[in-house]
Amino acid sequence: MSDNTAHGEPELVQLLAPDGELHDDPDYPLDISAEEIRGLYRDLVLVRRVDTEAVALQRQGELGLWASLLGQEAAQIGSARALRPQDTAFPSYREHGVAWARGVAPKELLGLFRGVTNGGWDPAEYGLHLYTIVIGSQTLHATGYAMGVQRDGATGEDGSAVIAYFGDGASSQGDTSEAFTFAAVNNAPVVFFCQNNQWAISEPPDRQTRVPLYRRAAGFGFPGVRIDGNDVLASLAVTRKALQQAREGQGPMLIEAFTYRMGAHTTNDDPTRYRASAELEEWKAKDPILRLRTHMQTAGIAGDDFFTEVEDEADRLGERLRAECRSLPDPDPLDIFHEVYAEPNTQIDLQRAEFADYLASFDDAGAEGGR
């Protein structure tokens, strides 16, 4: 299909074909060891297991909601493994693979969806900002943060860069366009990583755009590229280059990872109402994990022992996650009032005191034998 339409599969950067064959791309050379490839495979499998377990936990009533990343593992792991410790990522709410790569424990992700936290981790500790629910909002936070990096003089060859994750739906938000504008005019060291997973809940890309998303960048004055989002090596190579260019002062870049959300939008969604099963079958053939495994087997990068080992590790991870999820404690009721303001706030202090007294009245009633 022609490059001029948004909705087919135009030229895209691909290093690893669906059949597992590896190709070079002169623009995006990838220097990677067999050990690193095994590491990527392990990431993909374990992150998929986190996702599968979380969906199951939601079905068992342990989570209020879950947004599945099934099918998007390569886009996330490849791009996030391109980050350096000093880089900062601003995710949307489906970036479980990015969180994994940044070192956030999977149980921390569950807290938000179980309703025991509003966030779950210290963003500064991991270089991963909190999940952002209102789509596109984080693209501006990433851009502002990158402007700060720039002002700190923290850029340069060994410096820092920023990455903003968002989806095809978020590309329609004004904030995303404003982020492109701010990033471009400031030449900010930020990479915009759009996971075009083909569906914004029930809406396909032709409800979002008439041009391929990566081509939006040109109108803002920076480069855009479309990659095979199910190819973890392309995702790694292209993101690594984009981040390096950003930190060296060449400004922002938009990467559109052309991928597919194989699951539902969230556990509340029913994709059978809006998409054909044939489409899902077509994308299953492009599965990011299968193709890497095929390549590793063909190229002799790993043998059966390795794959069994990773499966076993995934089983243990799943088991641990189930136990951890169930043991996440409900917060204290007075937590409602905590951390709203850094400075004392008389209105909240008053309400907290009143509510504490109210709660204590039940203890008193209990002590008196109840009513």
């Binding site: 966030g119 900002h129 502002g144 700060g148 004004g174 504008t181 701010f182 850094a342 706030n345 909240i348």
Partner: protein
């Protein structure tokens, strides 16, 4: 070093002092650089602090607030100018859903010390979207502090306190009072005004007249004009949180409360104060709390604004109503 400053110049001097004492303080907004802002509140800052610290932004309010959040997360203290009250609305998501909630969402790991400066209120004969009083939206949003000075002294100190606050602060500037002057001791080392506190602007014994921002001057004029009753004027200064201790202390002494503001009465700050005071001072009240405000209509064309904005007579009519019981 006492100097005669307008409110606009006092904010400028306060911003300058904040920028001098902390290199992380940034000023950003539309036209804040070379032009010095449409009200010239950031005059000369660009020349003295440079384009990296006084940032002329694209014309995109959501972008201004959203990137300010990112800058704050990186350790900066951005002071955003939203050019006019009615231009704030494109930035609502970034302000209400993002800025206000970020500290809470991170369980205290993140502070987002962004200041939003918003010139607000009417009385300058402007076209639509240039005269609104949207403060109640902000006061209703947990996580934001909302303040407004009524004179140059408070403006000078409160803007500095807003900048050093670890919390997001919405700083409403009474635009029709920008040119009102007062003696400001810009050399003083300690603040003359505490941003979070109300103040008794004029002592009195018969009724408490509560106002804030542009309405304080009108309230003082009304109190002056009333030769029969002793009107105590309280300047609220902080709209979120409200300093109820000062308000209630005054009401307990006077036994009556009239609240005046430019914003429409329904859902406004006045109604909130009335409810709270009724709860806490019921046995001290000689009459119901009276609200004087604008009508529940869009801000009218400027040839009608003198009817829309509470003036001295409408405030005194409110005081009359309080004494009718």
């Amino acid at each position: 070093m006492s100097v005669d400053l307008t409110i606009g110049k006092a904010i400028n001097a306060g911003l300058r002092r904040a920028m001098e004492s902390d290199p992380q303080v940034l000023v950003m907004g539309e036209d804040v650089g070379r032009l010095g802002g449409v009200f010239r509140v950031t005059d000369q800052l660009y020349k003295d602090f440079g384009a990296d610290r006084v940032i002329d932004t694209p014309l995109a309010e959501s972008g201004i607030v959203g990137t300010a959040i990112g800058l704050a997360l990186r350790g900066y203290r951005p002071v955003c100018e939203i050019q006019f009250d009615g231009f704030f609305f494109p930035a609502t998501n970034q302000t209400f859903a993002q800025l206000a909630k970020m500290r809470r969402r991170s369980a205290g790991a993140l502070n987002v010390p962004v200041v939003l400066r918003i010139p607000y209120g009417g009385g300058i004969g402007a076209v639509e979207h240039h005269s609104e009083s949207p403060e109640a939206y902000f006061a209703h949003t947990a996580g934001l502090r909302v303040v407004t000075p009524a004179n140059a002294v408070d403006a000078y100190w409160m803007i500095q306190q807003a900048v050093t606050s670890p919390d997001p602060v919405v700083f409403f500037e009474p635009k029709r009072r920008y040119y009102d002057k007062a003696e400001v001791d810009t050399g003083a080392s300690e603040a003359a005004a505490a941003m979070g506190s109300a103040r008794v602007a004029r002592p009195g014994s018969d009724v408490t007249l509560l106002a804030y921002g542009p309405m304080v001057k009108t309230a003082l004029q009304a109190a002056e004009a009333d030769t029969e009753r002793s009107i105590e004027v309280v300047d609220l200064r902080s709209l979120a949180p409200v300093d109820y201790a000062t308000v209630e202390e005054s009401v307990r002494r006077t036994g009556r409360l009239v609240v005046a503001h430019e914003a429409p009465v329904t859902g406004g700050i006045g109604g909130e104060v009335a409810a709270r005071v009724t709860e806490s001072c019921f046995y001290h009240l000689e009459s119901p709390v009276i609200r004087v405000g604008a009508f529940d209509t869009p801000y009218p064309q400027s040839r009608l604004e003198e009817h829309y904005l509470p003036d001295l007579d409408r405030i005194l009519d409110g005081v009359d109503r309080a004494f009718a019981y």
